[in-house]
């Protein structure tokens, strides 16, 4: 896989767009209550981008501080949740990977907050071909 390939994504209405490049990010599923409510989805998926990898290319996100030191970026025109940032992971941007133009690119390899999983959510993590 090319390591410098750029990836783009954005919200439902197109007011917000972003891009990132660099090494393939870590990808994970999160079942936590806060992520579920932030999106309205029963489980969410992230790609975790290192400092400097992520940039907005169009529009200005609205931020909601969902916990102390945590801010979640969303589009105030259409409601799409796009990003998660936390002070304990300075300058990282965690992107909701379903907002990528190709959301299939980064299969999650870890699950977080499984203890908060809605009982009817059953998702099988895919084996990663060609990954260590």
């Amino acid at each position: 896989m090319a390591t410098s390939h750029a990836h783009e994504g954005g919200c439902l209405c197109g007011a917000l767009r972003y891009r990132f490049e660099g090494p393939p990010p870590r990808a994970n599923l999160c079942h936590c209550h806060s992520c579920r409510l932030a999106t309205g989805a029963p489980v969410v998926a992230f790609v975790d981008l290192a400092p400097g990898q992520f940039a907005w290319t169009k529009g200005k996100a609205t931020y909601f501080a969902s916990s102390p030191g945590v801010r979640r970026g969303f589009c105030n025109t259409c409601g799409t949740a796009l990003t998660y940032e936390a002070q304990d992971m300075p300058n990282e941007v965690h992107v909701l990977s379903a907002t990528l133009d190709d959301p299939s690119l980064f299969p999650p390899t870890e699950e977080f907050f499984a203890q908060e999983c809605i009982p009817w959510v059953h998702v099988r993590l895919q084996a990663q071909e060609g990954q260590p």
Partner: protein
């Protein structure tokens, strides 16, 4: 008395209640729902409009396709509701925004033609490539 279920957004500005019986409970894999929430799939509970009660605030509305109105919280972004001309008189609420989402297990997957390849539900439920007559 019919069972009543409350829900709302992350920040609490928008709150609602729905009254049973629900018309359906489904999980939707369509691309529009993926983009609307930011999650890989969405789950919906559908009720008649008269079985939905606004308790606090009101969702902001985004018209995502002709005849489709998606409601979200303008303060925190939570996707909350879906109303479409294809389902007159109904409102579909995002199951994950209920205070007790476990109360409405989905019975079907819809729009699996758009399913993200790595998002593989392991629940044995039927899969419809598009939508059924009563699926969200």
């Amino acid at each position: 008395m019919s069972a009543r279920h409350e829900g709302g957004c992350l920040c609490g500005a928008v709150r609602y209640a729905i009254i049973e019986p629900a018309k359906f409970s489904s999980m939707c894999h369509c691309r529009s729902c993926q983009r609307a929430t930011g999650g890989p799939a969405s789950a919906f509970v559908g009720v008649e409009r008269g079985q939905y009660e606004q308790l606090a605030g009101a969702p902001a509305i985004y018209v995502s396709s002709p005849g489709v109105r998606r409601g979200f919280c303008a303060a925190c972004g939570t996707s909350l509701t879906y109303e479409g001309d294809g389902w007159p008189g109904e409102i579909h609420i995002y199951t994950a925004t209920l205070d007790d989402p476990a109360a409405f297990p989905p019975t079907v997957h819809t729009y699996t033609a758009d399913r993200i390849a790595w998002f593989e539900p392991d629940d044995g439920l039927p899969r419809l490539p598009g939508f059924g007559s009563d699926a969200g």
